[in-house]
């Protein structure tokens, strides 16, 4: 019986055991909390980074299948140890520091990039009792930490002393700043519904998942989070035909590896946050009695959302810069603002009605707004403009006239 009890909530069990141990050693209460939190943070961070190994393998495998390839398949069964081999290789690679870099930003950027992703895990509730911190401003924290990610990108672009890195950093940070706005507005709408900015409370208040209240909001948040992560179809910060390899071009070895890890981990982290805000997080049948089930539910929901992201990444072409900007400023942001205003009014009006009725009304409103938004966009869509770039006439070098001279002397 004792074992079953432990297995149903192992994290709290271990925490109690450590606290007991420290108490027996005569550690003061404040230091007990400090040490337990330190251990928790270390385990959470390491765990999140280790998940990335599996994520990288899974993503390469899925994208491979989507593109009718096999993906990694040499090392271990189904190539499952490929990321381990890649990691070992990247550890042993030479670390090249180009001439003329600005040392502080150059060396700081990868650290900030990884840290800005790992910080997000501090506010995710894994079950009713297990979470890093029940911060009462978790949503603001998520947005603020996103700002730190931008900082990492800008530092990398600047510090590298390379104009292509710099251009890519400008692009990437403009994209991240722009897509933060619809994201923040949608988050405000969820705050109105739950009456709280803490992720723990938001998850708890979802007797019906918020995706049914705010399907349009969930859509906007999902698109914005893909763009925020800089993944396809919004991966134009690393368009190899225009910008070589993006803001991390001058990085090699382990530092490049850190950007790489941050990229893959950020995709999964935003899936975790999406499922916490819109899909009910750890909630599910029996999750309150057996907290370990909460982990499983959260993991399943996150993996589904993450898979959607990978699916989109594997199947959509890249947007142009102006299209990317138009999507956020001319479509997502006005739509999010309209949604926010309507939701604020309507939730106040139907505050005391049955919850299912609320869901129905908000669902109808969301769908109506979505259709109206698309109709407006369609109405004002211009015909494709074709700009003539050059009118210079050239004589083709054809086999029939190999010695003919063109006007330009070619």
């Amino acid at each position: 019986m004792k074992i079953l009890e432990f297995l149903s909530d192992p994290i709290i069990g271990i925490e109690n055991w450590i606290v007991q141990l420290l108490e027996n050693w005569g550690v003061a209460t404040e230091w007990q909390t400090f040490i337990v939190y330190l251990i928790g943070a270390a385990i959470l961070g390491t765990g999140a980074l280790l998940i990335t190994l599996i994520l990288i393998w899974a993503e390469r495998k899925i994208i491979g299948r989507l593109q009718d390839r096999l993906g990694p398949n040499r090392i271990g069964p189904w190539g499952i140890f490929q990321p381990v081999a890649d990691m070992l290789k990247i550890f042993t690679k030479e670390h090249i520091i180009p001439d003329g870099v600005d040392p502080i930003p150059y060396h700081l950027a990868p650290i900030i990039s990884v840290a800005s992703v790992l910080l997000l895990w501090a506010v995710v509730p894994f079950s009713d009792s297990v979470r890093g911190s029940n911060l009462n401003v978790a949503l603001l924290f998520i947005l603020g930490v996103g700002g730190l990610g931008e900082l990492g990108v800008i530092l990398a672009g600047w510090g590298s002393n390379n104009k292509y890195s710099m251009l890519a950093a400008f692009r990437a940070s403009a994209q991240m700043i722009s897509y933060e706005i619809p994201m923040a507005i949608v988050l405000l709408a969820t705050v109105i519904l739950s009456g709280s900015m803490s992720l723990g409370d938001i998850v708890k208040s979802q007797n019906i998942a918020y995706i049914f209240f705010l399907p349009l909001g969930a859509f906007i948040f999902f698109v914005a989070s893909i763009a925020e992560n800089g993944r396809a179809p919004f991966d134009l910060a690393e368009a190899e035909s225009e910008l070589v390899a993006g803001f991390n071009m001058e990085y090699s070895g382990l530092k490049f590896g850190m950007f790489y890890v941050a990229d893959f981990l950020r995709a999964f982290t935003s899936a975790v946050i999406f499922s916490s805000i819109f899909l009910g997080g750890w909630r599910g049948p029996g999750a309150e009695q057996i907290p370990i089930l909460g982990f499983v539910y959260l993991l399943i929901k996150s993996v589904i959302v993450w898979f959607l992201g990978v699916w989109i990444r594997g199947s959509m072409p890249r947007y142009r810069v102006d299209q990317m900007m138009a999507i956020t400023w001319k479509f997502l942001t006005p739509l999010a603002l309209a949604l926010f205003i309507v939701v604020a009014f309507v939730t106040k009006l139907i505050e005391n009605t049955n919850q299912w009725l609320q869901v129905l009304i908000l669902l109808v409103i969301n769908v109506a707004l979505f259709v109206a938004g698309f109709a407006i966009v369609k109405k004002f869509r211009k015909e494709k403009e074709r700009i003539v770039v050059s009118t210079k006439k050239r004589v083709l070098a054809q086999p029939t006239n190999p010695f003919s001279q063109s006007e330009t002397g070619g």
Binding site: G147, I154, N161, G195, S198
Partner: protein
């Protein structure tokens, strides 16, 4: 000493040292970076005081928006990597004297103030309550509704002014 005190001392030291770097470094871009460290330190101090809303807003607004805009402005207006300015001009001596005089006056007046005898008490609010109380205070007519709205008016004025300056006044060429 409790862990909180140790963290406070470390963070306060980092904040002060980076604030000194902000005004003493030659490269203006590095000064902007150290400013971010300073702002981060202030955010952590807010967090230590259990003012989590202010900590989050400090990061979101000051680091996420203002510092980024500052960096953009520096990057777009100055020569990359080779911008070195002197921090002092010819009148540094007299300014130093004035600052010293004012510092003496301020310190002598402030040290007798009873601000330094206050002790911190933990907040009674749990979870969301502190934010709800803050929001009500800001929007309550008996509270700070007027200054709050005035500040938003000021920001709107700045926004309109910015748009006006950036606007193409002749209204022709690139349309």
């Amino acid at each position: 000493m409790t862990p909180l005190q140790i963290i406070f001392i470390l963070v306060a030291l980092v904040t002060i040292i980076s604030a000194i770097f902000v005004v003493s470094l030659r490269k203006i871009f590095h000064a902007a970076l150290w400013l971010i460290v300073t702002l981060m330190g202030v955010a952590i101090i807010f967090a230590l005081l259990e003012a989590s809303f202010f900590a989050a807003v400090q990061i979101l607004v000051y680091i996420g928006a203002i510092a980024i805009i500052l960096i953009f402005a520096i990057m777009l207006t100055r020569n990359i990597m080779s911008d070195e300015e002197m921090q002092i001009n010819r009148s540094w001596g007299i300014v130093m004297l004035l600052v010293l005089i004012f510092a003496v006056i301020f310190i002598s007046q402030l040290s007798s103030s009873d601000v330094f005898n206050t002790t911190l008490v933990p907040l009674e609010f749990q979870g969301q309550e502190s934010i709800i109380v803050l929001g009500e205070g800001l929007l309550d007519p008996a509270g700070y509704a007027l200054p709050f709205e005035l500040a938003s008016l000021l920001l709107l004025g700045a926004l309109v002014g910015g748009v006006y300056i950036a606007m193409d006044k002749k209204g022709g060429e690139n349309k």
